[in-house]
Amino acid sequence: MRKSIERIKQMVIKEFIQIFRDKRMKAIVFFIPVMQTLVFGYAVTTDVNNVPTAVYDLDRSPASRELIRRFSSSGYFDVTFSADSTSQLQDALDRGSITLAIQINRGFSTDLKKRKPTAIQVLVDGTDSNTAMVAMDYVNRIVQKYGKELSGAGVPQPLDVRSRAWYNPELKSKNYNVPGVIAMVIMLTSLLLTSMAIVREREIGTMEQLMVTPLRPAELILGKTIPFALIAIFDVVLVTVIASLTFHIPIRGSLLLLLLCTVIYLLSVLGIGLFISTIAKTLQQAMMATFLYYMPAVLLSGFMFPIENMPTVFQYVTYANPLRYFLVIIRGIFLKGNGITILWPQMAGLLILGIVVITVSSLRFKKRLG
C-alpha cells in the first residue's frame, strides 16, 4: 500500500514537472482562469441599461419634456439624439445606432390636462429580443408611473403592489453569472489539460515506457488525474477570491462546503477528460472532442439558459451533466447561503455521476493500455 502511494506520488511530481516545463503553461494555468472570470464577469450581463434611444418630440411641452427627462435620468436609457422626422428614426434603427425610439405626438400635454386618454409611440429593435423585452418593460413602468402621478393625486388606486427580490435584491446579473463562470472555467481548463496531457504521452510514445514500469493501471490513472485536480482546486480558490473582491459577489454559505463539492465535481470532469483521452489518438482530436463535449455541456447546464424553459426531452438530458448540479450548488452557496441540508440532493447526484463516469472511463483506459 505504501509503495503504491509512493509510486503515485512520483507520477504526480513527474506530471507537474512536465506541465510546467513550458514556462507559458504556468501563466496559462493560473492566469487564464482569472482572466476568463474577469471578462465573463464584466461582459456577461443581461442587465439592461444605457439602451441607445432617440426621441421625437412633436408636442414640445413641459409635460413631454418632463417625460423625456425621466427616461434619460432613469439610467436605463441613453437618449442619444432628438429626431426631426420619422425617417431619421427609421434610419437610425436600420443602422443599429439606436435600439429604441420614442415618439410623443402633438396634443400630448393638452390631452393630459383635459384628462383625456392619450398615447405615445415606441419603436423597438427586436433583434435582441431579451433587451427589447426588458426595455419595453422599463418604458412601460416609467410611463405608467408618470401617468399615475399626473392623474391620480386624489384618486386611490385599487391595488398597491409591493415586490421584493430575494438573494439578489438589486437584480444584478453578475451575482448570478460570476459563480457560474467559476464552474465553467474550471471545467474547460481541467478537461483540456487532462485529455491532452494523456494523449500527448501517447503521441510522443512515452506511454509505453510508463507501461513497463511497476506502475499499476489504477496508479497510472490516479497519477494522471491528481495533478489536474490539484490545479483545479487551486484555481477555484483563486478565482473565488478574485470574484468576490472584484465583483463583490456575496458569499453567504460555507466555503468549506464549496471545496468539498468542487472535489466531487472534479470526479466527473476528470473522468470525462480520461474518457476523451481514450477516444482521441492525436492532440487535435483531443481538443476537438473536448470542445464537442464542452459546448453542449455549458449550454445545457442552466448557466445561461434556465433549464425549466427547455423542452422536456432536453431537461432529462441535463441530468447527465455534472455542470448542472454544480451550478445549483455554487449559486446556492454564494447567493442563498444554502447548506448541506438543502444541497444534499445535488451533491448526491454529482457523486453518483462522478463515480459512474470515473469507473467507465477507467475501465476503458485499462483496456486500451492492455
Binding site: 461582459a43 431579451n130 399626473l150 482521441a280
Partner: protein, 369 residues
C-alpha cells in the same frame, strides 16, 4: 509566389486532413450539434415560472386574482401555501421562483373602495428571469387594477409599441444569426491552431523549411483546405438556419457569401498565427480558446448586448472581429440592410484578415532564421 508550391502544400495538408477522419467528422458534427441545441433546446423566452401562492383571504376576489395569474400562462402554481414559512422553504430550495402573498383584508379593502395590498417576492438570483417575471407581474397587476377600478379615475397614458425586425420577439431569430459567427470562429480556430505547432512537435517542420517553399506560400497552402471545410460548414449552417429553423433571411445572399469568406479567412489566419507563435500544441489550444472562442462567444454581441457592458469592455470589443461579423449577420438576416450600411463592418473584417496574414508571414520568417 509560385502557385504550384501553394497547391502542393494545400494537397499535402488535405491528405493529412483526410487521414484524420475523426477530426473531420467532429468538424461537421459540431455546427449541427450547436444548431440543434440553440434551435430547439435553448430559449430566452421566459414562461413556466414556478409560483407559490399564500392566500390569506380565501375569498372569491382573491381566487379571481389567482385565476388571472394562471390564465396568463406565464406562471405555474406549484403550491398553495398554508404558512408563511413555506414561502421561505420553497424559494430557498428553488422549488418556486415567485411567491404571491394575498393579505387577509384583500377583498374587504377592494369592496370598500380602499387600496388593497399585494405582496410579491421573486427569486432574484437569476436576475434576467426575475426582471422579466416582474415585468409580467407588473403588467398583470396593472390590468387587474384597471379592471377593478372599472374605468373610474383618470385614464393613464397608453404606450403603443411596435417591434421591428423580430416582431414576435423570438429569441431564436436573435440567437441563430450570431451563432453562425461563433460556429465559424470555433471551427476556424480548432482546425488551424494546432496545424503548424503540430509540424514543429513532430519534426516535419524542419523538413518543410528545407524545401524552397516560402513562408507566405506555406501559410496560404495550409489555409486553403481548412477554408474549404469551414466554408462548407457555414453553408450547411445557413441552410439549416433558414429551412429548419425558419429564421428570416431578408438581405442579399451574395453579400453574405462574400463577407463570410472574408471573416473565415481572418479567423483561419488567426489560428495559424497562434500556431506559428506558440510551436506547442498544448499552449496553442489554450491560447486559441481564449483569443478566439471566448471573445466570439461573449464579446461579439452574439448573446450579450454590447451596450450593456461597461465602457472599457465596449472598447475592447472593437478589436474582436466577431463583433463586426455578428452585426453583419443580424443585419442581413433580420434587417435586410442595403450594402452601404454593411460596408464599414466589412472593411474592418478585410483589414483584420490581411493583418493576420501579414503577421503570420512575419512571425514565420523569424522562426526559420
Amino acid at each position: 509566389m509560385k502557385f504550384l508550391r501553394i497547391k502542393a502544400i494545400a494537397k499535402k495538408e488535405m491528405l493529412q486532413v483526410r487521414r484524420d477522419p475523426l477530426s473531420l467528422a467532429m468538424a461537421f458534427l459540431m455546427p449541427a450539434l450547436l444548431l440543434i441545441i440553440f434551435g430547439y433546446a435553448i430559449t430566452l423566452d421566459v414562461n413556466n415560472l414556478t409560483t407559490i401562492v399564500y392566500d390569506r383571504d380565501q375569498s372569491s376576489r382573491s381566487r379571481e386574482f389567482i385565476t388571472e395569474l394562471t390564465a396568463s400562462e406565464y406562471f405555474t402554481i406549484v403550491r398553495h401555501a398554508e404558512t408563511p414559512r413555506e414561502i421561505d422553504r420553497y424559494l430557498d430550495k428553488g422549488m418556486a421562483r415567485v411567491a404571491v402573498s394575498i393579505p387577509y383584508a384583500f377583498s374587504r379593502d377592494i369592496n370598500a373602495g380602499r387600496t388593497a395590498q399585494l405582496q410579491i417576492i421573486v427569486d432574484g438570483s437569476d436576475s434576467n428571469t426575475a426582471t422579466i417575471a416582474l415585468g409580467y407581474l407588473t403588467a398583470l397587476t396593472e390590468r387587474y387594477s384597471l379592471k377593478l377600478s372599472g374605468g373610474r379615475g383618470a385614464p393613464g397614458i397608453d404606450t403603443r409599441v411596435r417591434v421591428w425586425y423580430n416582431p414576435e420577439l423570438k429569441s431564436r431569430n436573435f440567437i441563430i444569426p450570431g451563432l453562425i459567427a461563433v460556429i465559424m470562429v470555433v471551427i476556424a480556430a480548432l482546425l488551424t491552431s494546432l496545424t503548424v505547432a503540430r509540424e514543429w512537435e513532430r519534426g516535419t517542420m524542419e523538413q518543410l523549411i528545407a524545401t524552397p517553399v516560402k513562408p507566405a506560400e506555406l501559410v496560404l497552402g495550409k489555409l486553403i483546405p481548412y477554408f474549404l471545410i469551414g466554408y462548407l460548414d457555414m453553408a450547411i449552417t445557413v441552410v439549416m438556419a433558414v429551412f429548419l429553423f425558419e429564421v428570416p433571411l431578408r438581405g442579399n445572399i451574395a453579400v453574405l457569401a462574400v463577407i463570410s469568406a472574408v471573416f473565415l479567412f481572418g479567423g483561419l489566419g488567426l489560428g495559424v498565427l497562434i500556431s506559428i507563435v506558440t510551436k506547442n500544441q498544448l499552449v496553442a489550444s489554450q491560447i486559441s480558446m481564449v483569443a478566439t472562442f471566448l471573445p466570439a462567444f461573449l464579446l461579439s454581441g452574439f448573446m450579450y448586448a454590447i451596450s450593456n457592458m461597461p465602457p472599457l469592455l465596449q472598447a475592447v470589443t472593437r478589436i474582436v472581429p466577431a463583433r463586426y461579423f455578428v452585426a453583419v449577420l443580424k443585419s442581413i438576416f433580420l434587417k435586410g440592410s442595403p450594402l452601404r450600411l454593411l460596408v464599414p463592418n466589412a472593411i474592418f473584417l478585410l483589414i483584420f484578415g490581411l493583418l493576420t496574414f501579414v503577421a503570420a508571414n512575419r512571425k514565420f520568417k523569424k522562426k526559420i532564421e
